[in-house]
């Protein structure tokens, strides 16, 4: 995905001015930066949820995972998945084996008929994650998809994410405020600075993220680089 000369303003406030970036195919890029820097605006522009000038070149559909599960209250887990995804499949039907595969990957195969109010926060977010991967998209954008979850739940969700990603490789752009999330799930960490938005720090991670540990030298070096950058910018 290539973003060329992106411009976006809110009134007189210029958020993006001639901003360009390229996201490598089938890789996961974590986008970080202070609150209000323009991360969500970037995601909204990519997802087509806000107007902008410039060019976003993409070669396929996008699916999205928000910080809220965005489930329809009156529909069961499976019906929610069908609502969002079925139209993208031949005969407007999700193949049963595909549906089972994704539900099993997020350990929700036994809750397929549950209504959203019968699910815990973590379960609901797992449905959102499943939905993102079930949609036959080339790109997945995630806007703080693990926000507000406790450490244990976050750990499990990250595992589900890596599991799903290994089964259904995609180009992922994830917005996060959590350094550990960025370093353990992505191949590249991009830190944005504001007014107008620029890439202030760009860290590449070459090791396999599914086996990467916080004690790995690459993880620790990247974390130190990020912390040095934060200290310097305070």
């Amino acid at each position: 995905m290539i973003i060329k000369a992106l411009n976006k303003s809110y009134g007189d406030l210029k958020i993006f001015e001639d901003f360009s970036v390229e996201f490598e195919e089938m890789k996961t890029t974590a986008v970080m930066g202070a609150s209000g820097v323009g991360k969500s605006t970037l995601l909204n522009a990519i997802a087509g949820l806000t107007d902008y000038t410039g060019e976003i070149i993409k070669e396929g559909d996008i699916s999205v995972v928000f910080s809220e599960p965005a489930l329809l209250k009156n529909l069961s887990v499976v019906k929610n998945l069908e609502y969002a995804v079925s139209h993208a499949y031949p005969n407007k039907k999700i193949p049963e084996e595909k549906l089972n595969e994704v539900l099993e990957a997020v350990e929700l195969a036994d809750r397929r008929d549950a209504l959203p109010y019968e699910l815990s926060t973590g379960m609901a977010q797992r449905v959102a994650l499943a939905r993102g991967f079930l949609y036959p998209s080339r790109y997945i954008v995630m806007d703080e998809a693990f926000r507000g979850l406790d450490t244990a739940l976050k750990f499990r969700l990250k595992r589900y994410f890596l599991n799903l990603l290994s089964m259904n490789p995609r180009t992922v752009i994830m917005i996060t405020h959590d350094l550990d999330e960025a370093l353990s799930l992505s191949d590249r960490v991009m830190v944005l600075s504001s007014r107008p938005v620029r890439i202030a720090l760009d860290i590449s991670l070459s090791s396999d993220k599914s086996t990467r540990l916080p004690s790995d030298p690459e993880y620790m070096n990247a974390a130190s680089e990020y912390m040095r950058f934060i200290e310097a910018s305070i």
Binding site: A47, G48, L49, D61, I62, S63, V64, F66, E68, P69, A70, L71, L72, K73, N74, L75, Y83, A84, V85, H87, A88, R131, Y135
Partner: protein
């Protein structure tokens, strides 16, 4: 003491009929008691008859064919105005919520309609239209802006994440309408309809009084007033209250049916 209160609470929770029948009956009993005390204090049937006199008149009315003609006419006009208001509100609220320029045009119209005194609308309509048409227009103009605002608010309150998710995933419009928007707004639509359908009846009767609409509840109330037959006026009022309950009940039934359909 507390244990006993807890026991009582559990008993009421267990026995739903207490909540659905006994409690409302207690409420009705309180109204009747105040009415009896008021009638005794006033001591003049011409000003405030007793509940028993009003019921007597009410049952007398039930036997008259004119009563049923008036009730039928008023009911039909109320339903017509309400349905017109409902449909207009559904269209303009949808436009306001989804087409920003349309919303900007509609907003001041709604504000003006909401601010115009009911009596001004009635008086103008009575001058300009036939006595059978004026009450319909008046009731429509009162109910429509209220329904519009409720429907617009309901549409704006649909989960923005679900709306954005549907856009990104390219969910077909018909699916969004039937699976996302309609189920999300239905509770608010029914709540607004329930409160506005009884308002529609009240406005209809008031307009019928001023428009002197033949064979209507309003005009019959006016005739009772002219003859200082307050007991009969109360009989008509009881009929209006029962109609109001029936209309609200019909909305509730429709809601139950719709929930099952959904």
């Amino acid at each position: 003491m507390r244990a006993e209160a807890e026991k009582l609470k559990k008993f009421f929770i267990k026995n739903a009929w207490m909540a659905n029948i006994v409690y409302p009956l207690i409420g009705v009993g309180v109204i009747l008691l105040i009415w009896v005390i008021g009638a005794a204090a006033v001591g003049m049937e011409m000003i405030l008859p007793t509940p028993s006199r009003a019921f007597e008149e009410f049952f007398k009315l039930l036997k008259e064919s004119e009563f049923w003609l008036a009730v039928g006419n008023t009911l039909a006009r109320t339903i017509l105005s309400f349905v017109l208001g409902f449909l207009a509100a559904a269209v303009t609220a949808t436009l306001s919520a989804f087409v920003k320029p349309a919303g900007r045009i509609i907003a001041p119209i709604i504000t003006v309609l909401r601010s115009v005194p009911t009596m001004s609308i009635i008086l103008i309509a009575v001058i300009a239209l036939r006595s059978t048409q004026a009450p319909v227009l008046v009731t429509f103009l009162i109910v429509y802006p209220l329904l519009h605002s409720s429907f617009e608010r309901a549409l704006e309150n649909v989960d923005p994440y679900a709306v954005n998710m549907s856009k990104v995933f390219g969910v077909p419009i018909y699916k969004r309408v039937f699976k996302l928007y309609i189920p999300a707004v239905l509770p608010d639509v029914f709540a607004a309809s329930k409160s506005n359908v009884s308002l529609a009846l009240k406005v209809m009767i008031a307009s019928e009084v001023l428009a002197q609409t033949f064979d209507s509840m309003g005009v019959n109330m006016q005739i009772s007033r002219i003859y200082l037959d307050t007991a009969q006026l109360m009989g008509w009022t009881l009929a209006a209250i029962i109609m109001s309950f029936a209309l609200e009940g019909a909305v509730s039934l429709l809601k139950r049916f719709t929930v099952r359909w959904k």
